[in-house]
Amino acid sequence: MTTLLDVADVSKLFAVGGGPGLWSRLRRRLAGGPQTLPKVHAVDDVSFVIDQGETVGLVGESGCGKSTLVRALTRLVDVSDGSVKLGSRELSLKPSRVFARDRDRARIQMVFQDAGESINPRFTAFDAIADPLRRLRKLRGAALKARVETVAAQCGLPLQLLSRFPHQLSGGQRARVGIARAVAVEPDLLVLDEPTAALDVSVQVVILQLLQRLKKECGMSYLFVSHDLSVVRLLCDRVLVMYLGKIVESGPAAEVFEHPLHPYTQALVAAVPRLHDNGAGRLRLTGEPRSPIDPDPNVCRFYGRCPRSTDACKTAMPALRAFGDRRVACHFAEEFLPQPLQPKTAV
């Protein structure tokens, strides 16, 4: 398989605790305050690849940097450090404002979380789908209309609904508009930010099946951001687990959820409600996440919340280590390894 997206050592820092402007900087300097502001390490040294045609899941709790990472990859914000390569093209060099008019803009598209809020309420479904085609494909007139109708049909959106405004559509139909508009420009990589979070289970199933079909038809790769692990398990080939700006575990989705190696993943998997299980005696995370503001580079980010939390965890940040096709950032990952080195039998 060929690599589609290569993300290497990407970091994104945000300065906090003071105005960013010249005036406030000057005032700080006159007051004899610190020259540099403390920084939130929203995404810290993240590397991963997405292959052509692959579906990668990105999970983690809110505030762990999922959205910042996704915004950096889709070039809605600039990265502080590192490289984002799409095919052979380095994307991180151009400021996001310039990239918005780039010819490769169409190659990465995004489906936002709540289609009801992310679609311009004054655009009809047609306009919403046509907008990226007008801007990125420069389509006009009949060609535009034909393309919009093809995409709408592909996404299972009845053509008579195209003249409606978002508020006149049901949740499922809005989700279809959100997907259609992203797929319209034939991207190579589709980033889906919790596309089914606002939907009922009955509709969610249909949308997930639609996504799976579209992927086959269009040969796209997906980066699927979600906190619903049961959905990630069904849709994704591989999964990345993020915690406080770092990837703590990655690997084939089925294996990661079957035998999570990192304590955070274990807690995450344990927290998923199951139909036929009352959930007694599950692992629970106590305490608050560590502060993402200028974190100590030598302390494991999970220290304090981890049931383990040994001295080794606060003297050395565990590196992401490979075990077969899985990667884990924990000093004690070996203990949780099931039988990965033995030949696998049918589970």
Partner: protein, 334 residues
């Protein structure tokens, strides 16, 4: 359930008058929740879960009108109570956690003050002690550095934090009944688990009855002893959780279970529920509002729904799925 229920809703019907016709949002909804018990109301959006909660709380939109039914909390019928009676009961006896904490909280008042308000109004706490108690409440719901957080405004806090604040407000006066309307929608699973643990733990400590509204069947199953399945303003099935999952009798319940991603091994295995909710403004609504989507429709479905009552397994269906007697769990009678 032999104990006196904390809340019993009987024959609740609600209509909304809109410009395009009358929406019959709830029709003859009945269920009960015992003291210290947790039940779940589940169903798709638009099935009337939240309207039920709003009707019980007496906070229906002005267009909404309760046309029939009672909701007995202790000796008081909440639906017939005067606004003054309701104002006394709400907050003290009856509390609610709303779906979206960010819009439910007052955006221009620090969260500590909002908790203190409830404590002063309903919790018999002197105004001078209230701020201190509010900080304690914040600590009780697991917010670190509560003294600093009490001064924060809702927009300065994360969704999970806001939800904890909502819980602190709801539980400030130690109510006997808590209605939690999708309390963890939009929170991630670890936070969801912690918040649900928190509600369950506090409910147990205070002996509080909980009505938990959700569309996540798996979550409902994990957190409640009884599940009330709603569809288009009807209660279609009401059964103990274990029994409902093992032997769903109403076709709609069975379809909902089949659509829950947790149970499936692959996406293709997941079944979607065909069709959509009927338009509740229609004058010719069939007696069974599910019949137009139902794969098991028979001629009898045109008759009024069977009036099933009692406290066991209640099904509003003329042609329920057969009960498999062989593998019926023995303890279900308990």
């Amino acid at each position: 359930m032999t104990a006196v229920p904390a809340l019993s809703v009987e024959g609740l019907s609600v209509e909304f008058r809109t410009r395009s016709g009358t929406v019959r949002a709830l029709d003859n909804v009945s269920f009960a929740v015992g003291k210290g018990e947790t039940i779940a109301l589940v169903g798709e959006s638009g099935s009337g879960k939240s309207v039920t909660a709003y009707a019980v709380m007496g906070i229906l939109d002005r267009a909404g009108k309760v046309t029939a039914g009672r909701a007995m909390l202790g000796g008081l019928d909440l639906l017939a109570a005067t606004p003054r009676q309701l104002a006394e009961v709400r907050g003290r006896e009856l509390a609610m956690i709303f779906q979206n904490p960010r819009t439910a909280l007052n955006p221009i008042r620090p969260v500590g003050r909002q908790i203190a308000d409830v404590l002063v109004r309903h919790g018999n706490v002197p105004r001078r002690e209230a701020p201190e108690r509010a900080i304690e409440m914040l600590r009780a719901v697991g917010i670190t550095d509560p003294a600093r957080r009490a001064k924060a405004y809702p927009f300065e806090m994360s969704g999970g934090m806001c939800q904890r604040v909502m819980i602190a407000i709801a539980l400030a006066a130690k109510p006997s009944l808590l209605i939690a309307d999708e309390p963890t929608t939009g929170l991630d699973v670890t936070t969801q688990a912690v918040i649900m643990d928190l509600v369950a733990e506090l409910a147990e400590k205070l002996g509080m009855a909980t009505i938990f509204i959700t569309h996540d069947l798996a979550l409902a199953g994990q957190r409640s002893s009884r599940i009330v399945v709603m569809h288009a303003g009807h209660v279609v099935e009401n059964a103990p959780t274990r029994e409902l999952f093992a032997h769903p009798r109403h076709p709609y319940t069975a379809e909902l279970i089949a659509a829950t991603p947790d149970a499936a091994a692959s996406l293709d295995e997941l079944a979607s529920v065909p069709g959509a909710l009927p338009d509740l403004r229609r004058a010719d609504l069939p007696p069974c509002r599910y019949s137009e989507r139902c794969p098991r429709k028979i001629d009898a479905c045109a008759q009024p729904l069977p009036q099933a009552t009692g406290s066991g397994h209640i099904i509003a269906c003329w042609n329920p799925l057969p009960l498999r007697v062989i593998d019926r769990p023995t303890e279900s009678a308990a």
